[in-house]
């Protein structure tokens, strides 16, 4: 421990230089930790949007559903989706199963017709587990969206909720009567008259321009679906077990394909990869800056103490102990830097979050969001470990230089 004590005293010898080096370490810690908190906010926002946007934690679909397009409605479907949903609801790990039908067709308002992508959902269950209400709330603010409400759970009701872009293209508003046209499972053309119950803003312009939602009863009539369903969205009781439950449920239902939400949410994966690339590069640069700054500090410190090292070696200190001494100096620099960095991170995070800053809408989306940098202890630990490792590496060269000094030359050093 004498070497550790000596190392600490040595750092305090040149306080200003040590303080400057610590500032570099603190800045590195701060930047990486805040970036980590921001990434965590973004990832959580995107994962919530994907899961509550309709995917659920797991999707049960027919095998091959992801390959190619459907030539006609429900061509790739779970033939008795409702029975499968009822079976899954008995599973203790499953909180709810939301059957869905995905279809496409034309939506007409008098002489105007627009192609749509439709999803049919259970109007009673959907608002409980998915973000339908939020999308509806945002849609109500759009032109023609006033009075927006969720579709009726009455099986006889024929209602539709339109994306705000789709409503704009048709000149439709809440209360308008429209005609849905599509093909049945047998390929016959069919149509159903529907009333607009509300408008929804899904956050993505492309979705708003094409997307509509109806009840399963409405879609069943239009498509002559019977018990067939395109997919089942499974909501788990323990979302953190998604990967394990996917494997288990897939084994239970070998005739289907069970996919976790993160395999299906391509936007989430793309953003995650982009962020990892951007912040990974930033981290690399910061680690390099810390490496050079601490190596420079420790090397200068070695050059100033050549004679002192000669005396220590004359007293019997072994070369490897000088290496250890420099490693201790690096260890204290890293430890102090991380403690100060963590303190600065927590203070700045609290300050920034208290400002309720509004971030601009990400590319391709229509909503901004409030900055809320997450508290991520794992990121702080990882950054601290990374910085510590960087500093220990940076202390190697000065340590080796000290260890290789010839005693008689070091004692002559002025």
């Amino acid at each position: 421990m004498i070497l550790a004590r000596l190392a600490l005293r040595n750092l305090l010898r040149q306080r200003r230089r040590t303080a400057l080096t610590l500032m570099v370490v603190v800045a590195g810690f701060l930047a990486l930790s805040l970036a980590g908190g921001f990434m965590a906010q973004t990832f959580q926002g995107l994962s919530d949007a994907a899961i509550r946007g309709g995917l659920g934690h797991l999707q049960v679909m027919p095998p091959g559903a992801m390959e190619g397009d459907e030539a006609q409605s429900l061509e790739k479907a779970l033939p008795d989706g409702e029975a499968l949903a009822a079976r899954l609801r008995q599973d203790p790990a499953v909180a709810e199963v939301l059957p869905r039908i995905q279809f496409m067709g034309l939506l007409s308002s008098g002489p105007r017709s627009v192609a749509f992508l439709g999803t049919a959902v259970d109007p009673a269950l959907e608002p409980k587990y998915m973000a339908s209400a939020e999308a509806l709330k945002d849609g109500a603010k759009a032109a023609g969206g006033e009075g927006s409400r969720w579709i009726s759970a009455d099986p006889a009701a024929r209602e539709v909720i339109l994306g705000v872009g789709l409503a704009r293209a048709l000149g439709a508003s809440v209360g308008s009567s429209l005609t849905l046209m599509s093909t049945t499972r047998d390929g016959a053309l069919n149509a159903v008259d529907v009333d607009v119950a509300g408008l929804q803003d899904l956050g993505l312009r492309e979705l708003n321009d094409r997307f509509l939602t109806v009840s399963l009863a409405t879609a069943s009539q239009l498509l002559d679906a019977g018990p067939a369903r395109s997919r089942l969205s499974v909501v788990l009781r323990r979302p953190q077990d998604t990967a394990a439950e996917q494997a288990r449920i897939q084994a239970l239902l070998p005739e289907t394909s069970v996919k976790p939400w993160f395999e299906l949410a391509s936007f989430y994966r793309q953003v995650k990869m982009l962020y990892f690339a951007i912040f990974g590069f930033m981290g690399l640069v910061l680690f390099l800056v810390v490496l050079l700054a601490t190596a420079n500090t420790l090397l200068m410190s070695v050059m100033e103490r050549v004679r002192e090292f000669g005396v220590l070696r004359a007293m019997g200190l072994q070369p490897r102990q000088l290496l250890v001494l420099l490693q201790w100096e690096g260890a204290f620099l890293g430890l102090m830097g991380s403690v100060l960095g963590l303190t600065a991170t927590l203070l700045l995070r609290a300050g920034l979050n208290a400002l309720h800053l509004q971030m601009p809408a990400p590319p391709g989306t229509s909503h901004g969001y409030e900055l809320n940098i997450h508290l991520v202890p794992a990121v702080y630990a990882l950054v601290a470990l990374g910085l510590q490792a960087t500093i220990q590496v940076s202390a190697l060269f000065p340590g080796l230089k000290a260890a290789q000094l010839r005693i008689v030359e070091a004692l002559r050093h002025v």
Binding site: L6, L12, E308, R313, M315, G316, Q318, P319, V408, L411
Partner: protein, 222 residues
Amino acid sequence: MLELRNLTRAYELGGERAGVFGVSLDIPKGCLAVLAGPSGSGKTTLLQLAGLLDTPDEGEVILDGEAVSGLPEKARCDLRLKRLGFVFQAFNLVPVLSALENVMLPLQLQGVTEEDARGRAEAALARVGLADRRHHRPGQLSGGQQQRAAIARALAPDPLLVLADEPTASLDHAHGGPLMDLMAELASERGVTFVVASHDPSVIARAHRVFRLADGRLVPQD
């Protein structure tokens, strides 16, 4: 106690061959020996060879009957730590440690517990008259006090041999004389062997034995 057998260590200095050449001498236990001679005569080189800080080109250093100059570096470090002490012209105390901590340092490097090291260091400082200055850092001590602290540091581990290179050169006469008296007392009192490199007449006057060097060779005694 210390035997140097036909030691040679040559190096280039300013284009000329310098060092020590074929030096042999014996120094008994408890002796205060002085290596005397003008600058460049090889005193420091010989002291560094005897202190295992450098390796001879030829010859042998025998410490307490054991040939030590050819030992591997780790064993030489161990010998320096446990059986040798050093005093330098420029004191060379560690500036970030107090006088007490400087004296404790070689003991703690040996693995002595902090409590024992403190006791032994305080006793060594008391012996050199620095008990009341033990918590001062080197920068707060006079040159004479620093050199006495350096002697305490060299003596605290109970070495067989203390090597001092021009220990009075940075001190005025009023401090240099008493310092040498202290070394002479310690040599007699503890049986520690001191080898001092110096050309200071007041140091030579206090020596039990004097070895004169000129151009790296031992000058025959009258």
